[in-house]
Symmetry: C2
Subunit: 402 residues, 2 copies
Amino acid sequence: MRAEASRSVPESAGKPRSKRERAAHVEDLSQEARLRSLLKILREINQARDLRSLLTMLTSETTATLGVERSTIFLYDPARKELWSFVAEGISDQIWFDAKKGMAGHVFESRRSLIVNDVNNDPHFNPAIDRKTGFVTRSALTVPIINTRGETVGVFQAVNKIGGEFDSVDAEFLEAVAGEAAVTIENVRLYELRRRMFESLVTALADSIEARDPLTAGHSVSVMRYAKGIAAAMDLPPDVQRAVEYAALLHDYGKIGVPDDVLRKPGPLDAHETDLMRSHVEHTARILSAIEFEEGLRMVPQFAAEHHERLDGHGYPAGLKIPQITLGGRIIAVADVFEALTSQRHYRQPMTPENAFMALTAESGKSFDSGVVEALARHLAKEGILTEEFSQAALRSIRGQS
Amino acid sequence: MRAEASRSVPESAGKPRSKRERAAHVEDLSQEARLRSLLKILREINQARDLRSLLTMLTSETTATLGVERSTIFLYDPARKELWSFVAEGISDQIWFDAKKGMAGHVFESRRSLIVNDVNNDPHFNPAIDRKTGFVTRSALTVPIINTRGETVGVFQAVNKIGGEFDSVDAEFLEAVAGEAAVTIENVRLYELRRRMFESLVTALADSIEARDPLTAGHSVSVMRYAKGIAAAMDLPPDVQRAVEYAALLHDYGKIGVPDDVLRKPGPLDAHETDLMRSHVEHTARILSAIEFEEGLRMVPQFAAEHHERLDGHGYPAGLKIPQITLGGRIIAVADVFEALTSQRHYRQPMTPENAFMALTAESGKSFDSGVVEALARHLAKEGILTEEFSQAALRSIRGQS
């Protein structure tokens, strides 16, 4: 127990010894409720799919079990040095305040639980938040949320005990629940950091491969943006959207296996040079196949390997036809061509978005998937790259063809 | 409740109604114990730093709270289609068995809890395991461990209830604890998968950069192995060892910015070519700096950026001296030179490990950190690359110099 009794609670505030039987009965009921609540928390914890739904479950269990008006989880934002309400029952707006202020700030700083049964007699109480929310705080139990590395990441607060006072047994319960919250917050954070590390590495290497040819700098990131836009416009499942995104970023990585003089040649390539240039797709496929992608990203190597395949079988390296090419491969093909046409190359000037899109339209249903080309039109209109009118006319023209 | 009562338990096996008072007292004690136990689990869960210590805590809490002889967590191995004892109280060897066999197999398949109060009258009981371990199973409560995606990943078993029978309240308790185990197993697994994804990507790109020059193929992986060996021989903290490992794998990635004709030139380089070649260190530093490494890996870019610095200030790019060069940088420098000397190059034949090591020794304390060179000697002797006698003589010679 690390509860710190507030000076506003007299030492004798516990249930009187003389009423032992009644107290024991109340205690039993309360113990039964606490046990039910913890059993429920542990049972449901593996059904919550995200941090918010899990922490929301913890606050509502706390409110019911401790018999309080509401519970709130405040998280610490190191950049702003403030606490903010990640889950606040009964309040829709986020509350932000100085991490040194109020009962929450005191608990955050001292890392010890705090019981306050009359906020008006407590020096830590900060009435500013009540004034902002219109809620009236009478009593509060506040405990720190401390992660596995001993860092305080937030506080858990239960407010206004109904028909009674907070005691050390309540504090013990809330500390246990806060422990669970800490683990969950930590897991999500670590997982997210690892995702960002992977993502930044992928981006760094997409950039680095393009550093060999200044004219194609930024190509992969641009293709990734178009491909992401198409996948979103087609409303694909989140996992597929992410896989398309990574595959688009990495689709040209195999150019690392193409000699400088072919890669940077300012004129048209001869037959041998064309073969070398085209071999980048196989290099990409080989390199990406060595990566142990996590479950949702397993298709990345195949999506990337198919970005030069064409619906009519005239693409490379495999000359696949419509049903054999993955949707991801078809999306990156369209994004890649649109990006290339609208960019400067050694041998030609960039096209306008309108002309590039018309060039794609002409091949829609032959080289390119018309559904993907339509999704690109919707994405470009949404981004203001094509006008709504142009996009509508283009869509009509694609549909007229098919 | 999803407990499935075994046919071996008569319907009337519960506590008799006529002895209500005594039963209520036992029930209260048990409730108190369960509440204490769950509070403890929730409080301690954020102090457990790894899966094994956490699951061990869950089994010992279960054993104490349910009053049983031992508890075991079996995990499912999809490759072998077997269940195995990840945490088994009282047993040091791992137990592996067919995931369709026994009470554990039945629960794994049916995904429902199973109470068996007399194993000899139960069709699911598999006596083979007892014969193997010498333990005598009389009764068992077995519950499935089901993760957030609804997959059964294992089973949790409590064996031999002392002085009583397992009931549905016990099952409810163990199901809650199994829920917690499921979340923890899932988190560790996801985190581990993401680590492997990152690691395989790093390896794939280290390989890909070397694909440009067949003579240096495998250089980065070899340097990584030597650097890892040195870091282990120096007993550095695990985080630093991992950072050294990644930095060693990526130290030459900046060669992506060096033209083919310089990289593959079969003879000595002129001054301009030397500058281009040396620029790979700055490319490495720039590219790696763009990666959001997780906390323990923050030093990777700096370690990699210092692999051509030398203690006497005659290295590049910065010409740093002893106190300014990180230990990681000094380790990779030694590993890199040892690997290069023992490998074929465009302009010379490989040296023997003995000659390469003597060359390092000659520069120990001047170019190279003598503590690092000593650690390399210990690593090479351990791996059998140098004989123990040679290594000892070399160590004496290094110590004689300094």
